[in-house]
Amino acid sequence: MAAWELLKDQNFRLDGRKPTELRRIETRLGVFPNADGSAYLEQGNTKVLATVYGPHEVKGGRGRSNPDKAVINCQFSKSAFSSSERKTHMKFGRNSSETNQHLVQALNAAVMSHLYARCQIDVYVEIVQSDGSDFCACLNASTLALIDAGIALKDIVTCCSATIVDEKSVVDVNYVEESSGSAVLIVGLLPKDEQIAYMQMKGRLHADHLEKLLDCAVEGCRNINNILKERIGEHLKTHSSHFTLTRPATPGRAERSRPAIA
């Protein structure tokens, strides 16, 4: 307890982070070669696997297909051993279907779905280990998986949470902070134009503090985005040597790839 107090006095959080400090982020693209795209993301102790299948023909009847854009289908699930207390995840429960809906909402904002008319894009997310900010990690991992699948995105949608601990807004909330009962704000951001694509808050917060908390979460998104960008860049660099051979050597041959102007 004494150590805890000390941390608090020094402006540190329970896990030793500063208020605006993110947890360590580790990523890996292309975990499952059989899928069109896949990614693994660690945000501190929250670990998520995301897989993308598609764009492919719409499953379950043509009635579901959209003639103008892609149908994005998300399924979120959480392994039974992911949290400290064992809990079998309800695939069809209210919470998971809400999470699915919200993932679709956030991804829809980024995916240039008009390029994939009549198609379906499946995004499956599995939480292997959970330590707060589950939705954020899921969304970040899904984005990476979509990039790995070569699906066109307007921007890299990133998500970050923020809460208030001891009257200070803190970013990238872990499980202990999440369950402390104060308001938790989750923001999904398209960082290029600072547009909010997804937002949710639970818990009680005075309206005057919203701006502060929102700024904090947005800043977190921006930082995560920079890290993700860096990681994608590294991945590209190590895996792009084949381009030197597959890219057209003479202009004549490349002219066949017509522009995508509608």
Partner: protein, 286 residues
């Protein structure tokens, strides 16, 4: 994963197996490379990840205190739960994997129901009142054929990795026994997993049979025998799958084959497990 093959592809594959040359050059009783890693899930008491060729399985063991079965007051319980992750493919989305999940978890409990496999007495705490429940959750992340063998390897490894906290049994003022967890996290008990069975699936294609079938080979399999084999060669459970019928002689032959392979597989795994216990954790990042 469902693989559709054309008639001539099937013929090519089957002929190859009859001649002893598989599609990837393996001999009929060769396994693909098995990757083993322990303690991948820190939130579990024990965990393992097994990659068998293109199949990828994660198993986690969690211990909880609960009530014992009335019929077995001195024993703990083991509960299997298999989850087919949609990550493995679109066909497992929603309820798609349900049937397979039930099939595998049922077969696991059948194989482990033999008393000699795992000492459940060690899990008993207060007779008739409290005992350890071991929840063994298996998550199938990728299905590249021969998923059953991979699951059993993962379960055995995860059990090997399991550290059950030591408890003190105290008498309360009312004269009732109470269970108290020790504060020391390094104080734990380990179960003997030597005798845990491993599944060996043998697929019959044409006149030949193979172990560790790939997804394509599974698609042309006529009959399949799965046995849970202990390290001493005892078979604790077995089942025959797929639509084809088998003659008595070939059944016996396949069982014998199972036993042989199973013993070898057990031996190799057990020798590697102690090494794996002290290996650094890489997880999904490698």
């Amino acid at each position: 994963m469902d693989v559709i093959l054309s008639k001539s592809e099937k013929i090519f594959l089957t002929h190859g197996i009859e001649e002893g040359i598989r599609e990837d050059g393996r001999a009929p009783d060769d396994y693909r490379t098995i990757d083993l890693e322990l303690s991948v899930v820190p939130n579990a008491n024990g965990s393992s990840r097994i990659k068998l060729g293109n199949s990828d399985v994660l198993a986690g063991v969690k211990c909880e205190i609960g009530e014992p079965d009335p019929g077995r007051p001195n024993e703990g319980k083991i509960i299997f739960n298999v989850d087919c992750s949609a990550n493995a493919g679109t066909e497992w989305e929603g309820r798609g994997g349900d049937d397979l999940e039930i099939e595998i978890s049922e077969f696991l409990s059948k194989a482990y129901s033999n008393k000699s496999c795992l000492d459940l007495q060690i899990l008993g705490l207060i007779p008739g009142e409290q005992c350890w429940h071991l929840y063994i959750d298996v998550l199938i992340l990728r299905n590249g054929g021969n998923i059953l063998d991979a699951v059993s390897l993962a379960v055995k490894s995860a059990l090997y990795d399991t550290e059950i906290p030591k408890v003190l049994i105290k008498m309360s003022e009312k004269g009732q026994s109470e269970v108290e967890l020790t504060d020391n996290p390094s104080d734990y008990i380990i179960m003997s997993t030597e005798n845990c069975p491993i599944f060996v699936s043998i697929c019959k294609l044409g006149k030949g049979h193979v172990v560790d079938a790939t997804a394509k080979e599974s698609a042309c399999t006529m009959a399949k025998i799965v046995s849970a084999v202990r390290k001493d060669g005892m078979i604790t459970a077995s089942q025959k799958k797929c639509s084809g019928s088998l003659q008595e002689s070939s059944v016996l032959e396949m069982y014998e084959h199972c036993r042989k392979v199973g013993m070898e597989l057990n031996k190799t795994l057990i020798s590697k497990l102690s090494e794996a216990k002290n290996a650094p954790i890489v997880g999904f990042l490698a």
